[in-house]
Amino acid sequence: MAETKITINGQEHTVPVSDDATLLWVLRDDLKMKGTKYGCGMTECGACTVLIDGKPGRACVTPLSAVAGKEVTTIEGLGDEENPHPLQQAWIEAGAPQCGYCQSGQILAAKALLDSNPNPTDEDIDEAMSSNICRCGTYTRIRQAIKAAAGQQS
């Protein structure tokens, strides 16, 4: 039986699939990390955003072979309800989520932005967040949350 090794949130896992398996479904179905969401399967909505060596990537079209030897960060790698990451804390304080389904991807896109640009302008935020769709209309709160988190970091 095929096996592939991958590193998720700093931990190495061996999964019972060949390396052409899709990262999204391995995360969700083999590793039971369901915070990464399926939205479109064609890179257009951002719900499955994960960080691959710190850069936003789309798990829905990423084969395991593309992350071999790389560090993948999912929403589970940031913080949990008891100890949220500062960005997650900013999200909670801004009351950003509505249905919440897109928010894992939004938070990871924001993390990639702030990691590379700790004090983004409004234009920087719009640009970095322009591939993540929210249908509930929480953009205004997400922007507030990013600014609040950026303020804390600087």
Binding site: G35, C102, D126
Partner: protein, 746 residues
């Protein structure tokens, strides 16, 4: 105290037992329910899952509180208060709101109230979660149930302590009197008692509220910010396999033949299903089913529909039925006669496209069909509709089916319709295993339902006093689906069509809704027709204001004398925006629209910038004022209003389902192009004029309806372009400015 109804005692007891509330104290109450009846004659395909889904066209009949249905508010032996409801949370904040309502009336801490949602074997068949009705309709019942429970625990404590009830106080679930105190846990301990809800028990004076009216953070924020919230798509059960439906190239196609021979031998494939118009393949893993479906060969006969997203607006009028009057009893006037001699009376025609709900979580379900019962896990707005449809579809008794209603990842009306769970049920029955079915994005765009296109014609003019002399309102919507259907599917296109809902004194009005043919299945989308009707009405009011030589606010004031709550929110929104309105197009870019929906009064002022060279429209600011009566959670209300504004702005700026030959030509996110963060207004100010003595109004939908009208009026104020067709693309704005566009409108 109400009399017991014998027939319901048994079911109530079994419900109580099933709810795990046998120990402790339970208040039995009744909730508003809706009748589940499919009025149109079933089409031949009904009962077999087909490419367009089934059973969605049952019209909704609202029933008042019944005698036979019971639900419970309980205090367990641990002192926790539990409310079981079939209402669903999907970000509107009703879970938190219900917790506040119960905690307030019962004087417990909010965190000691558990709201258990969506499980059909323990909850009562309340209305589904739509129409901004949850707090409005169930809220008062829960409040009364909690008040009844409060009276009961006071009685028990008085007995226990030897004090009189009026010497006792309750704080944080502890009853205290001169002789000591008792916790709710102590009072419920060792009991297994049940009482009826009492309408005689007095409710708390809203002036004494400490919890209701507080802007509490919604209780699920942390789970949603950490990826821990569980949605329907996240459900996994033992032995589960993945299904995938074989889809036609266009809607309403008929399956002629299907060939699984190549697909069947692919890795992981465990079975296939073919039943009438429905075919599906099943594999162990998601990747495997995705690969296998590509190898399935199917041939279809397509409907050959010739209607397109451009011709639909003529089709709606050409195929219109005789129409249904929407005037209140005895108020229809004769606008044609009234306007016959009015100079400058005109007809204004507004066009609104089909819209897609497109929640980010597509439709998904896990269904396990077994000999001994059926379990359904589905992201749904209405678990009991789901149960009824699955039972009927499988020919099982409803008591054999348990629907585990799951938190939807966005819904907007699309997750009322039982569809994906019926498909998953067919597949599970076929392969004898629990099946997970997740629609992909193409399926989500093409094979669900749509907010129908509308064509609205308003004929109006002013009398010599600059009052409206007559108002003829003809709304055309798509109801007859599929083409050739004899009974229209309701999609609430009539909502807010009657001008008297806003301006009660306009004379000589006549309002008619006509249903025509629609090639795409119509269904509820957010506030349904109210968005379209509000756009048409509020645009025309602005046109008439200018003709009257008045500014939009003063002109509306002349018509709102008998609608003071709406007048109040209008002025609050105008003040919030810092707008001094002028007559006609002032170049300022402000626009106003009013709405009334779900017993909530709302006014919105849009501030826009329009580039007259490129036609680009930018939303700069939104100011909203609303009066929802008793405001349970102002923070949740603000967020709902913000979300409603932003989603509706997406429809203003971009959204338009395009189709020809029965297929969508922009059925992906990149083509449909909902708005992104860069398009959303940086500032949305929400002012709540709350009157705690008034009934609780709905929140989810009122914020959606006025947006298009407010933006249309703002575009006119900015550059003098009157918009009659949504969305307001740069091409359409340039055309409205009388400028040629390089590319013809498509």
């Amino acid at each position: 105290m109400a009399t017991r109804i014998t027939e319901s005692s048994l079911s109530r007891r079994s419900l109580l037992k099933a709810s795990g509330a046998a120990a402790g104290l339970a208040i039995a109450f009744r909730v508003p329910v809706r009748a589940r009846q499919a009025t149109p004659e079933p089409s031949p395909d009904l009962g077999v899952v087909n490419s367009r889904g089934i059973d969605y066209n049952g019209s909704i009949v609202f029933h008042p509180l019944g005698n036979e249905v019971d639900a419970y508010l309980t205090i367990g032996e641990d002192g926790k208060v539990t409310l079981k409801t079939s209402k669903m949370e999907f970000g509107q904040g009703i879970r938190t709101g219900f917790m506040q309502i119960v905690a307030e009336e019962l004087d417990v801490n909010v965190e000691d109230v558990i709201v258990d949602m969506g499980q059909t074997d323990v909850a009562a068949p309340e209305f589904g979660t739509f129409g901004s009705l949850s707090t409005q309709m169930s809220g008062p019942v829960f409040r009364q149930a909690a008040a009844t429970m409060r009276a009961w625990v006071l009685e028990l404590a008085a007995e226990d302590l030897g004090d009189s009830v009026d010497e006792l106080t309750i704080e944080s679930g502890v009853v205290t009197g001169p002789s000591g105190s008792r916790t709710f846990a102590e009072l419920a301990s060792g009991k297994a008692s049940e009482r009826e809800i009492s309408q005689e028990v007095a409710l708390k004076d809203p002036a004494d509220y400490k919890i209701v009216g507080q802007p509490l953070p919604r209780v699920d924020l942390a789970a949603k910010a950490t990826g821990k919230q569980v949605y329907g798509i996240d459900v996994e059960v033992e032995g589960m396999v993945y299904g995938k439906v074989v889809r036609p190239p266009s809607v309403d196609a008929t399956l002629d033949s299907v060939d699984f021979s190549e697909a069947e031998s692919m890795p992981g494939v465990v079975g296939t299903v073919h039943e009438g118009n429905f075919a599906a393949i099943v594999a162990e893993r998601k990747d495997q089913v995705e690969a296998a479906i590509k190898a399935v060969k199917a041939s279809w006969t397509e409907s050959g529909s010739t209607i397109t997203s451009e011709t639909i607006f003529d089709v709606l009028k050409e195929t219109a039925d005789d129409g249904q009057p929407l005037d209140e009893e005895g108020t229809a006037g004769d606008p044609d006669a009234a306007l016959a001699n009015v100079e400058g009376a005109e007809t204004y025609t507004y066009l609104l496209p089909y819209l897609s709900h497109s929640p980010i979580e597509p439709k998904s379900a896990v269904v396990d069909v077994r000999e001994d019962g059926v379990d359904v896990w589905v992201s749904t707005q209405d678990p009991f509709s789901s149960r009824a449809a699955v039972a009927k579809h499988l020919g099982r008794d409803e008591s054999e089916v348990i629907v585990h209603g799951m938190h939807p990842g966005g819904a907007f009306g699309s997750k009322i319709v039982p569809q994906v769970e019926l498909e998953a049920a067919t597949i599970s029955k076929g392969v004898g295993r629990p099946v997970k079915l997740i629609w992909d994005r193409i399926e989500e765009f093409m094979f669900g339902q749509f907010r129908p296109a509308m064509r609205i014609e308003i004929t109006a003019g002013l009398d010599e006093n600059n009052a409206i002399a007559g108002w003829r309102y003809d709304a055309y919507t798509g109801g007859y689906y599929p083409e050739g259907a004899k009974v229209p599917t309701g999609s609430a296109s009539d909502w807010s069509a009657n001008i008297h809902e806003i301006y009660p004194d306009v004379a000589e009005t006549k309002t008619t809704l006509y249903n025509g043919v629609t090639p795409l299945p119509p269904y509820f989308w957010r506030v349904n027709g109210a968005t379209s009707n509000t756009f048409a009405r509020e645009s025309t009011i602005d046109i008439l204001a200018e003709k009257a030589g008045m500014d939009p606010v003063s002109f509306r004031d002349t018509m709102l004398e008998n609608n003071p709550r709406l007048a109040a929110v209008m002025h609050a929104a105008v003040d919030s925006a810092g707008w001094t309105p002028g007559v006609g197009s002032t170049g300022e870019g402000f626009g106003l629209a009013l709405g009334f929906d779900a017993n909530t009064y709302i006014a919105q002022v849009a501030k826009v910038e329009v580039d007259a060279e490129t036609g680009e429209l930018k939303i700069v600011q939104f100011d909203v004022a609303l009066d929802p009566g008793l405001a349970v959670n102002p923070e949740a209300i603000k967020h709902q209003i913000e979300g409603g504004v932003v989603q509706s702005l997406s429809a203003v700026l971009r959204e338009e389902v395009k189709f020809e030959n029965g297929k969508l030509t922009n059925g992906t996110f990149s083509q449909y192009a909902p708005i992104l963060m860069r398009d959303a207004p940086p500032v949305i100010n929400v002012t709540i004029l709350s009157d705690p003595t008034q009934p609780m109004g709905g929140i989810g939908e009122p914020g959606v309806a006025p947006v298009i009208g407010a933006v249309a009026n703002a575009v006119y104020d900015a550059v003098g372009a009157r918009m009659f067709r949504a969305p307001f693309t740069p091409e359409r704005i340039l055309a409205a400015l009388g400028k040629d566009t390089a590319t013809p409108e498509s």
